[in-house]
Structure formats: C-alpha cells, structure tokens
Symmetry: C2
Subunit: 476 residues, 2 copies
C-alpha cells in the first residue's frame, strides 16, 4: 500500500536537504544551489557525489543512504538516465520531496523520455514522496532559508510566485527585489509531472503567508481543476498571471520548453476576465503590477492622475501614455493653477496638468504642489517623474543627497497619509555608470519608504490601470 | 524694403555666435551652452551680459554692438520682456539667426505674449534674419561645432532630427548615441514662430548630409505646406515621426508646452500611411527604429527570424513578442535541428526556433548556429539575446572579455556578409553597477562593429516590423 504523501507545508520547510550532482569545481546548478544554501545558513545540507569526499568544506556523501541525518528534500542535477535508481534511494531514505533540475525529459519530445516520467511518478506515489519538476529550479522559501540562487535577498514577503519556467522563477525576484518585492514562496515547477499549477494555486489560495499570487504558466494540465483553483484563489486574493505561449511560435517554444500544450489565448483571456485575474504580458509588467498592488497605498479609488515633473516633451508623453492606458489626466482649474503660481514660475511652465515647472525640483516645491492637488476630488493618484533627466543632474545635482531625499520623502508620506492618495515615482534607468550610482541611491530610499517606483511612464500607467480595473470588478 | 533672409545652410554654419544672458555662476541654459561651445572648440564665441567683463576666461560684452567680430547666430536666454530691444540690436549687428531659449511666449496663453511674438516676427522680417523658437534649445550641428549640450559626441552622422520639444532634442541624441546614432543636424524649434516643421522638412528632404529624417511634432502650423513637405521628404528618404499630443490630455499639455493646436490623430495616422512615414509612439521607439534603419544591414527582405539565446521562459517570450509584432519565428526542420545537434546538446535545449541551448554562450557555438540557420530561405534575420542573464555571468563570465567578444563579432560579421542577413542583439540593461560595467563594454563593441542593439525583445520586434512594413511599401 502506498504511503501517505507529505503536505506542501511540510515540503516548504524541510529539516535536511541533499544536493545530488555537486562538484568541487564551482560549476553547475547543483553546486550553485549548494553554495547558496550554505551562505543562506540552511542548517542541514548534504552534498552527494560518489567521486568526492568533501566539497566546499562540507563532507560529501556517495549516496543518500550514507547521509547520517534526516533528508526531507532532495535537489537533483544528474542525467535523466540515472533518475530511476535515485528515486529508489529516495524511497529508501524516506524523503518528502525530490526536485529535478535535470532536463531532457518529456519536453524533448522523445517517447522513451515520456515513458520514463511515468515510471518516475509511479515510484514517487509508491514511495510516499512528491516530485517537483523535472526541468525547473525548484523552491525558494526565505523563511526556511531554502534558496536556489544567490541573487535575491533572503527576506519573506507577502507574494507567492508559481513559475513553469525556471528562468522566470529567478528573473521576477531578481528584477522585483530592488523595487521592494519580497516573496513568501517561489515555486518553479517545470514539466509539472507531479506538483502542478493547480495544486499550487489551491495551496496559495489558503496560505496565510501569502496575500498576492503571481503565476507564469505556459500550459495547464487539468483544465477543470485549474478552473476551480483559479476561481477560489482569485476570489480571495489578487492573482496576477503571465501566460507564455500566446502565439503559434510561442506555443511551439513552450512545448519544447516544458512539454506544455498551451490552450487558446482567447479562452484564457475570457477565463481571466471572468475570474477577475490580472493578466500581464511579460515579467517586467508583472513586476510593475506587483509593485502597484504592494506599494500604491491606498490603491487609488479612481482613474484621475496629476502628473508632476520635468520637461514639456515628457509631459506631453506622460499625458498620452496615461490616457492611452486608460487613466485620466484631468485639467486643473484656473483657481488651482493660480494657487500653484504662488510658488511655481510662469515662464516655461505648464500648469494645466501635467505640471511642468523648472523649479519643481526642490523638496518644498514638490510637497507644496502635492498638497494643492491632493485636495482635488477628481484626483486619485499623484505621479512624479524626472522625464529624461538623469538623477545626477536633477535639483541642481542634489536629488540623490539625503538633504533633498529625506525631507522630500517625509513630506510626501505626510501628504499621502493626510489625503489617502497614492504617490508614484517614475525613474528612468540611466545608461551610464555615474548616473547609475545616484539612481540606485534614490530607488533604495523611495522603496524603503514604501513608495512604488516605475521605470517608465508607460509602465506606470499600464500597471495602475490594470489594478484599478481589478479593484473595481472586485468590489462590484 | 526687407533684406533677403539667409538660407538654412548659412544658419547651420555660423562664423560667430553670441550667447546672451550668460553668468559666471555656472547655472542656466546660456551658460551651459557657452561652456559646451567652448569645449567643442567653436572658434568665435561672444558672451553677452552688461554685468560682467569676463566669464569662463572669455571677454564678456555688454551688448551685441560691442562685439568686435562677426556674429551670425545669437543664442538668447533673457526674459521675454527684453526680446524686442534685443532684436533691434540683432538687426543693427546684421545677424543671420536668433535662437530664443526663453519661454513664456504664446504657449503661456496670454494675449500680450501672443502679440509680442507677432512683433518679434515683424522685426526679424524687416531685419533680414530668422528666428528659431522661442521656447526651445535651438541648433546642434556637429560639423559646425555648434552645440547646445555637452552630453553627446560631436560627430556627424546621417540622421536629421527636428523637434518641437527642447527636451526631446536632447533626449534622442543622448539615448541614441551609445547605440551608434549620429546626427547631421538636430533642430529644436519650440513654438515655431518663424522657422517651423514644414520648412525644416523641405530642407532636410534635399540636404545631402541627411539620409534619414526624424521628427517630434506636437502640432502643425500650415497643414497644406506640411502635407507637401512630408510627401517630398518621404518619397526621398525614410521619415520617422513621433507625434506628441495624441490624447485629449496630451493635446492640452502640447498646447501649454508649445502653443500647438494638435490635429486629429486619425488624420495624422492616415497621412503617415499614405506617405509611408514610419510612425513611432515615443522617444525610445524612435531610437529603436533609427538603430534598425542604420544598422540592420542589409535591411531584411522578409519577416522570418531565428531567435537564439538563453532560457526557456525568455524563448517563449521572444516567440510571443516577435509574432505579436508581426514577425515570424518559423519552426526549423528536423534536418536543421539534427545539424544543430552536431554542436548543441539535447538536454535542456530547445532547437525548433527559438534555439535555446546551455552552450549557446561560446563564440564557436554562436557562429556555428548562425551559419546553419543563415542558409535557410525562410529566415531573413537573426536575433541573439541573453534573456535575463546579466552580461557579467554569461559565457562563464567571459562574454565581456575581448577573447570572447572579438572572435564572436568577427565571426558574426563574416556570416552577415556571406549570407546578407542582418544580425540583431538584444541586451537587457542591468540594474546594478557591476553588471552595468560589462553591459557598456559589450554594447560599445557591438556598436563599433556596426551591429544593431536593442534593450528588449519587444522593442526589437516592434522596430523591425515597422521598417519591414516601410520597406515593402517603399518598393511597391
């Protein structure tokens, strides 16, 4: 009789981890994971390779049976041909979960590899353990110090990310972390032989550590189960999905990537609309939407935006981008413009909204402007941008100095709290080293203050429009 | 009787330049231009300000009449109230052109400022000189060492850029130059009181130093003249237009910015289609299209692309992005895939197109792959990307080394020449300092080799689709 398999909660908090396929030369996925686990301070790591007795100052074991301690989770990077005998070892050791980084399974399109996967699944069922993958980078659970890459901070946050792609399971945390995104659990599930998108959605819908669910999905294994899981999840938490393989070429690539048979885009779009799932088109847009959900506090109660910043051309661009995205940039009344003229100059200024004035680059002018426009009932959010100006030259070169940043941020947070309207920042990433230094200083200060940051007006507008639509549907 | 005004050719090659409104404190537009002209080595610069006798080690004159040498061009940054008396001085000195950086004219919406502009124009007509602006940053003519900003290389190239926005007149060269764009002349014309978009289009249509015309336009003063100028220009050279003020809010911002009354978007779109003008939606897309026109050599003769690079998720994304943009990513035949297996591994690889293989990160594998796919008649262009991988870690960290870059670029240029198919690179900009260093090295090497570089798959696909459409219409 098959053993009772462990729960996902148990899988996400392993007591001991074995890494199979390590080598002392510093190369390869298994070795990278080993080093990452070590530097994260995971307490019980067991490198496995019969060819070595120690790697990176840790004893190395010839096989799982030789490990003296408990092994709950096994991370595997060995050729597909050795998978079955390894699974026998796993059963004998009584592990809870096996993560196959190894590729070259069903996604290769070869029949013997498809059959091999079936046998693997049968062994897992009989052995009472679960399989993650194959063909993925597995688990990132900051709370458990269970990591698979060294590139992101090991800090927990309220976002869960489910990704069929191992690359994207790294890319989203890596690109999201400088903008303040932190994760409860990130699960890369690859071919989804055993643990798949539906089971993960069901789990995260009820996971108390997760407030927001993000998913990269190429194809769905069980349409009915997925439908139900998505409905439940989306009724409880914001769900953001990036669906890969929406074109013919994308579908072929997805099939070659994770053996996914992608469904019709139209059907998927309809599903998302029906469930009020936020759909995005790529990883960058996913970061933008997650940043909006996390840091646009409170979420705006309407679509009216005031745009403040630098340059006539960028102001025209800002207006066009935001209105095309579905937001409004309502004109300010003559009375409001007159009020702004108390501290903004006439020459070279645009005051109608966007507000573009040469001296809108001091903490005082920024805060005073925000105070005036925050009062207006037609305004639901404030957006400040530097146009194309490098941060290094903004505000007379003082923008990245604490003497500028600190009072600006304090003032903005005070305005934000008084009027309950979110303030967004658009900072164009620089294209040289000097400007990059100041860019990183400013980004870090804003993120630390809990402010949402975007890299372009277009991206900010698109993301905000998506969450406003989501929120409206959620409450009706 | 009014004097005969100078030609634009004369205006673009002034013998002496006066800068009015300079100060020794280092701040302000006039002072910035002065310093830029000085460091560019412009031969005859005359600072003007009655309050100083010298600025930045140059003699400073109280007014134009006091200047001992010839003054052809006058750059003005003084309050609008002083404009008329300055123009009298210009007439007395016999200048050819006056550029008003000063804002606060008709774009302010005040009737007396509208009237002031009319009087200014009358004075220019009577004095036999031309006005550029007001409310703009004027002229950048590398050949004449006539510069208005220090941020771009003073090297000529085949692109002319006409911009109603002073900001964008800086932004395009600044963001385009690291990707290889160089300009014959950049003209920021602001409110377009005298020299306007139509006259500039007419000029650049016949300018032998200009092969490609780019324009940022908010509104058109004389519809009939613009129509004819655009038709002539577009029949001779590729014309790329970014139209600002395409939404209601954008139109209001454009009116406040340069007093432009923007026309209907639908009419403008129809005009562009009819004339085969390449329309873009922002400055970044303009850079992308200009890079494509300049460096996608030869321009592709079809829409079929092979995508090579890193990561399954990014490969799916690449396929989706390119097909959505209107390109094709045709599947490779079994025979071609078998050929690729001679030097690419099976495990973890996608060979159908996109081609994603773990070892596609050596010069040899890249060049061998390009040789195999370049032969295929269904393939018109090759695209290589690093997915989300930072350049610092690509190819075992060797990608930015000359030992990697040099043979790769040499091999690629040889393949490109043998098969006459363009090779494009997509390099994702990094978000930290270390990766930025390597990014800049690689970008510079590729640009120096005449290869087109893009910052995202989406942008590359969109730009290539636009120039393919342009080219097809041009030849039919």
């Amino acid at each position: 009789m098959a053993k009772q398999p462990p729960t996902l909660d148990e899988i996400f908090s392993p007591r001991g981890v074995a890494v199979v396929g390590v080598s002392p030369n510093g190369r390869g996925f298994a070795t990278g994971v080993l080093v990452s686990l070590q530097s994260a301070g995971f307490p019980a790591i067991y490198p496995i390779n019969p060819r070595y007795t120690d790697v990176f100052n840790m004893p190395c074991y010839p096989n799982l049976q030789a490990v003296p301690g408990i092994v709950d989770h096994v991370i595997v990077s060995i050729p597909a041909e050795s998978a079955l005998s390894l699974l026998d070892d796993c059963a004998a050791k009584g592990v809870k979960s096996v993560h196959f980084f190894t590729a070259g399974f069903s996604e290769s399109g070869l029949q013997d590899r498809v059959d091999l996967e079936k046998t693997m699944l049968a062994k897992a069922r009989a052995g009472g353990f679960r399989i993650i993958g194959p063909n993925c980078i597995g688990l990132f659970v900051p709370k458990s110090k269970l990591v698979n890459t060294a590139a992101v901070p090991i800090e927990s946050g309220p976002i869960a990310f489910i990704s069929q792609s191992g690359g994207h399971a790294q890319n989203l945390p890596e690109y999201g972390s400088p903008r303040g995104l932190r994760f409860s659990k990130v699960v890369s599930y690859g071919n989804g032989l055993d643990i798949d998108e539906s089971e993960l959605l069901e789990y995260f819908a009820q996971d108390s550590e997760t407030d927001i669910i993000a998913a990269y999905i190429e194809g769905v294994k069980d349409g009915r189960r997925f439908f139900n899981a998505l409905r439940t999840a989306a009724s409880r938490k914001p769900v953001v999905i990036y669906k890969g393989g929406t074109t013919e070429a994308g579908k072929r690539a997805a099939h070659g990537h994770t053996a996914s048979l992608t469904s019709s885009v139209a059907a998927f779009e309809a599903l998302c609309r029906q469930m009020n799932v936020i759909r995005v088109d790529d990883v960058d847009e996913m970061v933008d939407v997650l940043v909006s959900l996390r840091f646009a506090r409170p979420l705006p109660d309407g679509t009216g935006a005031v745009v403040m910043g630098a340059g006539g051309g960028p102001s025209v661009l800002a207006s066009d981008e935001l209105e095309k995205a579905g937001l409004q940039v309502p004109p300010l009344s003559k009375a409001t413009q007159t009020e702004l003229l108390n501290f903004l100059p006439l020459a070279g200024a645009i005051l109608i909204n966007p507000i573009d004035a040469s001296n809108l680059a001091t903490p005082e002018a920024i805060i005073n402007t925000m105070k005036v426009v925050s009062r207006l009932p037609e305004i639901s959010m404030l957006l400040y941008h530097l146009g194309f100006h490098p941060i290094s030259s903004w505000g007379g070169g003082r923008f990245a100095q604490p003497s500028f940043l600190d009072p600006m941020i304090e003032g903005i947070n005070s305005v934000r709290n008084s009027f309950s309207k979110p303030v967004l920042f658009v900072l164009r990433p620089p294209n040289n080293l000097n400007n990059m230094k100041d860019f990183l200083i400013v980004q870090e200060a804003l993120v630390k203050a809990g402010l949402p940051t975007f890299y372009s007006l277009h991206q900010a507008g698109k993301a905000m429009a998506r969450i406003i639509t989501w929120q409206k549907r959620q409450t009706t």
